[in-house]
Amino acid sequence: MKPFITHTGLVLPLDRVNVDTDQMVPKQFLKALTREGFGRILFYDWRYLPGEKPNPEFIMNFPQYKGASVLLTRANFGCGSSREHAPWAIGDYGFRVILAPSYADIFYNNCFKNGILPAELSETQIEELFQRAEKYPGYQLRIDLPNQTVSDNEGLTYKFEIAPSRKEVLLEGLDDIATTLKHEPEITSYEKTHAATATMFDQVDVKNYSAGAP
């Protein structure tokens, strides 16, 4: 995964609360076999009219927000379905940072697996950023992860909180699985005392591919 240190980019203000992951990636795009190419369909039903014509009323289609990489939005962003296709789409579109007062748990977690920083600011701070995004054309923000700051060119700087372990994952671009597998002996030792099994006592109609299982 690509490490995240600092990022400066154009802000796209998406002024809605409780944006759910069904909006980011509607169901018909969940039949993919790969993680690639979801940027084109991000916010599909909002972004496109039937026939895939860009909806001129949706903010992502406004010319002044072309190339935006900082998504400014409202509370409980990413609620609903666990689909990781949502952060795949956000990342593939080009967003590297999300700024919101709060996030849904599964979505928040999924962002870190994809090198996206979901930074949490207070409601008041987010409101101020919305006002500035409207006031200054081409409004940009600089996000500094080591120092945990968000700042603009007008003298504003906000601190944000992030769990140290989350921060490390982004800074180092860590592969979680490799990190966990460093503790493989502990997993094996746990399995010796905690005998998790799934024995079938009555025959059920299942393709039993597990013949070689331990």
Binding site: N76, S82, N109, K113, M200
Partner: protein, 482 residues
């Protein structure tokens, strides 16, 4: 909501804490823990990229014997002997079969007699048992918490992580105690309880918490009802929902395919009896509701927290103090094609869907069949679908003659799957049409682009099918409702 953060600490443990402690593989101060996963459930929609990731790194599935796969999201609910026309869905089914075959994972494919929605068949076959940790790449994994398990949804990267390590890296959640006291009135179901809870705490109200449910109204629910409550806990933003196991739990589990027999079962029950939260165990937050005050619920907006009792009217955006709520309500009413002040019972319905991992169990079908017996679906209804959660439930319902009651009343009797809850197969709600749906999400476009979803209980959906609009089921003869 009461914040108990300052309550004196004791050694008494919550159910959540007990399961957590029993699954810690590695703990380190200031770091998230590595916890062991007892059951990993997999479906075709969120797993292909995880298996591909494993393959790319040359990794193997660590415990195929603890992993169970099922085809549910995109399966047809009509004739499965016909060729699959949706090529993307077909490729996903083939990928799941290949991935299971190569890694030795047991698979309930679409032709299995035990096929069904992942969160239905886990409990139905006894794969789900108290005290376990269960994950699946699906947010409604919270369903399994009804058995006193710690069960939650994960993203595809974490699916890959669990496949490779049988573990997850987790930080401990905060705890929320939701106590529903008193006796549930007739016509008020588990679905109404959970919708009322979400209406009260909001769709972000449970964020970063694990919920434990308690109180008389929860205790008196069947396992099916408890599963409905835990299923929709994620719609309040919580990580997981749980109900402590009791005699109802043990009676449900005894004799199921993956549940031990005889002495082994008795030993398991003895262990499971140790799981309930200790007296005096401390929760971060407590929420209290009175069951007697809960009416049958109907959602009017575009998230499950936009909900009212059936006797209410569609709210006015200006009823809300917060500007963001006002804007969201205005937008929701526009999307839903509703006018503020309209009585809920005056809202006409185009289609009815009884199904999904929330409400497609045998109890749900019995309640709906009981209501519609001898009645007929209203002429104004374009389609009324009954989609059992599993083929096991379908067979049971047919044994009881429920299918006949439904088809005589004008409902379509379908095969098992996720169906119109998510519309990944052909069961899609058309644009601008309105459903009475027993599913879990009324988000914009959830059942089909520009479709309008109202979430209700099975008996409320059945009643809407008969009347052509929402009705208060409590107005019907008491023998019609359970």
């Amino acid at each position: 909501m009461t914040n108990n953060a300052n309550a004196p600490s004791t050694n008494a443990k919550t159910l959540y804490q007990k399961i957590w402690d029993a699954h810690v593989v590695r703990e380190e101060a200031g770091q998230p823990s590595i916890i062991y996963i007892d059951r990993h459930l997999v479906h075709e929609g969120t797993s292909p990229q995880a298996f591909a990731g494993l393959r790319a790194e040359g990794r193997k599935v660590r415990r195929p014997d603890l992993t169970f796969a099922v085809m549910d999201h995109s399966v047809s609910t009509t004739d499965r002997t016909l060729p699959i026309l949706d090529q993307d869905a077909k490729l996903q089914f083939e990928a799941l079969d290949k991935n299971c075959r190569e890694s030795g994972v047991r698979l309930f494919d679409m032709n299995s007699k035990n096929q069904g929605i992942v969160h239905i068949i886990g409990p139905e076959l006894g794969i789900t048992q108290p005290g376990q940790t269960i994950v699946c790449g699906d947010s409604h994994t919270s369903t399994h918490g009804a058995f006193g398990t710690l069960a939650f949804g994960i993203g595809t990267s974490e699916v890959e992580h669990v496949l490779a390590t049988q573990c997850l890296v987790q930080s401990k959640s905060k705890t929320m105690h939701i106590v529903v006291s008193g006796k549930r009135p007739k016509g008020v179901t588990a679905k109404d309880i959970i919708l009322a809870i979400i209406g009260k705490i909001g769709i972000g109200g449970g964020t970063s918490h694990v919920v434990e449910y308690a109180g008389q109204a929860i205790r008196e629910l069947s396992m099916e009802g408890r599963m409905t409550v835990c299923n929709m806990t994620v719609e309040a933003g919580a990580r997981a929902g749980m109900v402590a196991p009791d005699e109802t739990t043990f009676a449900y589990l005894e004799g199921r395919a993956f549940v031990p027999r005889g002495k082994e079962f008795q030993d398991a029950v003895a262990r499971w009896k140790q799981l309930p939260s200790d007296d005096g165990a401390k929760f971060d937050v407590t929420v209290e509701l009175q069951a007697e005050q809960i009416a049958p619920q109907v959602t009017w907006g575009t998230n499950p927290g936009m909900v009212s009792g059936v006797t209410a009217r569609v709210p006015d955006p200006h009823d809300f103090k917060d500007l963001n709520d006002q804007k969201a309500t205005e937008r929701a009413l526009h999307y839903m094609g509703l006018k503020a002040g309209t009585p809920i019972v005056d809202i006409p319905v185009d289609r009815v869907f009884i199904g999904s991992c929330t409400n497609s169990r045998i109890d749900d079908l019995r309640a709906a069949a009981h209501f519609v017996e001898g009645k007929h679906v209203n002429k104004s209804i374009k389609q009324a679908l009954i989609v059992p959660g599993s083929r096991g439930i379908k067979a049971q319902a047919e044994k009881e003659g429920l299918d006949k009651i439904f088809t005589d009343a004008g409902f379509e009797w379908r095969d098992a799957g996720c169906s119109m809850c998510i519309g990944m197969n052909a069961d899609v709600l058309p644009p601008n049409e309105r459903s009475a749906s027993t599913s879990n999400r009324n988000f914009e476009g959830r059942q089909g682009r520009d479709s309008r979803t109202h979430l209700v209980s099975p008996v409320m959906a059945a009643a809407a099918a008969i009347a052509g609009h929402f009705v208060d089921v409590r107005d019907f003869a008491l023998e019609s409702v359970e």
